[in-house]
Amino acid sequence: MATFNLKINGTTKTVDVDPTTPLLWVLRDHLDMVGTKFGCGIASCGACTIHLDNTAMRACVLPISAVGDQKITTIEGLSESGDHPVQKAWLEHDVPQCGYCQAGQIMTAAALLKENANPSDEEIESAMNGNLCRCGTYTRIKAAVKTAAKNM
């Protein structure tokens, strides 16, 4: 066990956990932040995507000891009142079916748009390719990313 001070969504949280614990389980089990989802545990589905500083990362394979001073942003902290342009675009296009993968999709999309304000179709597909959607909302996600890009 070791103590970690984590900068999450603009606040600092202290946890006492095994240093090998992936950030995903620190969020879900220790901090009661369950917006970040468990899908595969091997960084193959993207359901657990968060931002570490400004980069999209898979929280399921990121040991808490590797986080250090970097700022963690989760779906709960992407915007204060759920009105980030990506979230708004998701609602406008009524993207979710089951909804389970969507937090991860939104976090990847938000990171993409921070880096590339006007991505092409190919750039969207490429950036989003690591995020599985089992319900098949891919075409809607692409349309929503384009709407969000316009409104950023």
């Binding site: 095994d18 369950v34 989760t74 009524d94 979710p96 390719n129 089992r134 098949g136 075409t139 809607r140």
Partner: protein, 749 residues
């Protein structure tokens, strides 16, 4: 208006006494996320008046509508309450939707499966709304001393034109709650609809995009422990012994023990399918600690003995044979091919097919295969259980709560009324969560620990514990005379361990000499319903074969289907044909028109398919462009006849999802076995379709025929596999017979 007598689900509408303010918390108890949003709180009523089992109205006019069925992403939590709201004549912005509790004394068929929620719910949901509206009208008539026949409603308001009196629903809610349930009501005409047929966004949308706890895996309770299972690594193996010394000593671990999920001798149901009944269980404080301890357990396995059991299946029984042995995909394929060439069970025979084949000038014969598939819901199997001496509280994602309630009662030795199942939103279902062994596992673990626990499957557990889509094989034959007229049609199909035959479907009824046969190969690999069971294979095979048949006959593939459907309509063969030829032809005509079929599109290759299953008719066209020798799906166009469309935005979304699902599984996914061991156990080896592979554009057209609504959860994915195969043929000159089409067969083991 249509005058109807209340017969359906009358129990649901029995008047209840008005609930005091405290009653409002009933449905909001289980999760923080289920509490109203801040905007809703601003307008939350001080008092609720329960009008019937489906709805309650606050003194300020806010209405809570219960959504009776499990939500797996098919959007019933929005579309079913829309139907209630329509007949209640309420303004949708005053509606709050709650997931109803499992209560079979109020709600009918609380099940997600077979694309039947809307079709079966249609009458009862409208009744719930219209009876409440009638009670509000009668309350107003009484209060104003005017005849109820002169009262009208509009968007949550009650009016009496002659006196100029008006009141909001909230003002009359208290009185309405004490009005006797009407015996006869007037339903709206379709042209009076204001909510049905208009797009309404997902009622949980805001919660989903902000990461609120909605799913089973998100559920928490004070003092809750985490449990995981260790199961045999191969089908055909069972637990012999295990060593838990290391695991038990690891930090945060509470206990390690063996469970029998179902007890021998207990009565089970179809939804109690299970692959491995003896499991080693690890229970601890946190997920990561339990995951680590799970890896530290060493087990010894032994081979199972073959067995045969009778399982109750919808009023009759089903014989399930489980042979001993460690099975391989290669052997499955060899056995299926052998079975396809041996005698089989004749399920339907019209005319004299054997004689027709004997005199045929040309016989076209083709065989098709498809592998086992894992449902791969993105939220792995999980369930919360808190079982005490006199109560079982069970919370989580389950498609069959009303069935599993009975199984839990049997297994725990508690009466039915002590079993409380709460339905969470599900991170996908696709049929996997019809089989609730994980609910029973959670309950048994909680009972043993005497503590609240949440059982979590890792992805590897989820993917390697079976209940797969069966592996399938089909051989189609067509007999043609010297003028290339169709004389006879023969389908012979089977699978490991189930067949996918629906013998009375098209082209049965359209061919004078028709033969449908089936066979099966026994296996110890467990299988279950997978989105559009059976159809998810046979539609693609049949539609591929019809495409090749049309080519052989020198006909346009749509024209051939329309000719056959014309015959089925005007002079049908046989009596049991399970489709309406006119509606079937309707979707083909619509897609022909919308896609500009027949036009030459430079560089694009098109394939068509059409199918009827789960009460809905679908035609699809897939358009492919070849780039660097690889197919790119530029566009899929679909024509759908599901009767009245309740919520167009959600219906279109579900149709798009079905199309992507069908293309994905037909192109990329397979579970293969070596010595009983699934060779794929996570998304790095089991391929699901990804963003880059999805169609670039999907266009969905609905037939506007105002017929009673049917479902959309399943009918879209079966035919698209055929349309894809047919488009691939146009693009590459090669026919695709074996799924997954776009994976090198050498990689499939």
């Amino acid at each position: 208006m249509t005058l109807v007598k209340i017969s359906h689900g009358r129990r649901s509408f029995i008047k209840s006494s008005a609930l005091a303010g405290g009653g409002m918390m009933i449905g909001f108890s289980w999760l923080a996320s289920c509490k109203p949003t801040p905007e809703q709180l601003l307008t939350m009523p001080k008092e609720w008046f329960k009008i019937n089992g489906f709805l309650k109205i606050g003194e300020n006019g806010v209405v809570t509508i219960m959504s009776p069925n499990p939500e797996i992403g098919q959007n019933v939590k929005t579309s079913m309450p829309m139907i209630v709201a329509e007949e209640l004549d309420v303004d949708w912005k005053y509606v709050i939707v709650e997931q109803a509790p499992l209560d079979t004394s109020i709600f009918n068929r609380q099940l997600a499966g077979g694309s039947q929620s809307i079709r079966h719910g249609w009458e009862g949901l409208r009744m719930a709304g219209v009876t409440a509206r009638q009670m509000l009208k009668e309350a107003a008539a009484k209060a104003w001393g005017v005849p109820v026949s002169e009262i009208t409603t509009e968007a949550s308001m009650i009016h009496h034109k002659n006196s100029g009196k008006s009141a909001g629903y909230g003002e009359m809610a208290s009185a309405a709650a004490n009005i006797e349930v009407p015996k006869e009501v007037k339903l709206k005409e379709i042209n009076e609809y204001k909510i049905i047929g208009t797009s309404r966004n997902n009622v949980d949308g805001q919660k989903i995009v902000t990461g609120k706890p909605l799913f089973g895996l998100d559920y928490k309770k004070e003092g809750m422990l985490v449990a995981m299972i260790v199961h045999p690594p191969a089908f055909g193996l069972k637990l012999k012994s295990f060593d838990d010394a290391t695991a038990k000593a690891m930090p945060g671990i509470k206990d390690v023990f063996k469970i029998d999920v179902y007890k021998e001798g207990d009565e089970t149901q179809w939804c109690d399918t299970i692959s491995f009944n003896e499991l080693v269980v690890v229970v601890g404080n946190t997920t990561w600690e339990v995951m680590n301890a799970k890896k530290a357990i060493t087990c010894e396995w032994e081979q199972i003995k073959s067995k045969e059991v009778e399982v109750p299946f919808f009023g009759s029984t089903m014989k399930v044979t489980t042979p001993a042995g460690l099975e391989n995909t290669e052997d499955h394929l060899a056995k299926m091919i052998a079975a396809s060439k041996s005698s089989a069970t004749v399920v339907r025979k019209d005319g004299e097919p054997e004689a027709a084949f004997k005199k045929a000038a040309t016989i076209l014969e083709r065989s098709y295969t498809a592998p086992f598939l894992a449902h791969s819901t993105l939220e792995p199997m999980n369930f919360f259980a808190h079982v005490t001496a006199d109560k079982a509280e069970l919370v989580g994602p389950i498609q069959t709560p009303e069935f599993m309630e009975k199984s839990a009662s049997t297994r725990l030795g508690l009466p039915l009324e002590k079993i409380d199942i709460q339905m969470t939103r599900m991170g996908g279902g696709f049929g996997r969560r019809l089989y609730g062994h994980f609910l029973i596992e959670a309950a048994v673990i909680s009972q043993k620990m005497n503590a609240p626990i949440k059982l979590i499957y890792t992805r590897e557990d989820d993917m390697t514990t079976g209940i797969y889509r069966p592996a399938y094989h089909a051989t189609y034959r067509a007999a043609l005379d010297e003028n290339k007229n169709l004389l006879a049609f023969h389908v012979k199909t089977g699978g490991v361990p189930e067949s996918s035959l629906s013998a009375n479907r098209f082209p049965a009824g359209a061919v004078d000499n028709y033969l449908a046969e089936e066979w099966t190969v026994v296996s110890n690999v467990s299988v279950g319903a997978f989105r559009a069971p059976g159809s998810n294979f046979i539609a693609g095979a049949e539609q591929s074969f019809l495409d090749e048949l049309a080519e052989t006959m020198g006909k346009d593939p749509i024209d051939l289907r329309l000719e056959l459907l014309e015959k089925a309509k005007t002079s049908p063969v046989g009596k049991d044909n399970d489709y309406e030829a006119e509606r079937y032809a309707g979707v083909l005509q619509l897609i022909k028109e919308k896609s500009g079929w027949g036009k030459d599109l430079a560089g694009l290759h098109r394939g068509v398919a059409a199918y009827f299953c789960h009460n809905t008719y679908v035609a699809q066209i897939v358009e492919i462009e070849m780039k660097d020798n690889a197919p790119i799906i530029k566009k899929v166009t679909a024509a759908v006849d599901c009767g009245l469309v309740i919520n167009p935005v959600a219906a279109t979304n579900l149709a798009e999802g079905g199309i992507i699902d069908g293309i994905g599984h037909g192109s990329y996914s397979a579970i293969t076995l070596k010595d009983g061991v699934p060779q794929q156990n996570n998304f790095n080896t089991y391929r699901l379709i990804r963003h880059r592979e999805a169609p670039k554009e999907i266009e969905v057209h609905f037939v506007d025929n105002k017929k009673d609504p049917t479902g959309l959860g399943e009918p879209l994915n079966p035919p698209v596999i055929g349309a894809l195969a047919n488009a691939l043929y146009k693009a590459t000159g090669k026919r695709y017979y074996d799924q997954p089409f776009l994976v090198d067969p050498k990689l499939m083991g």
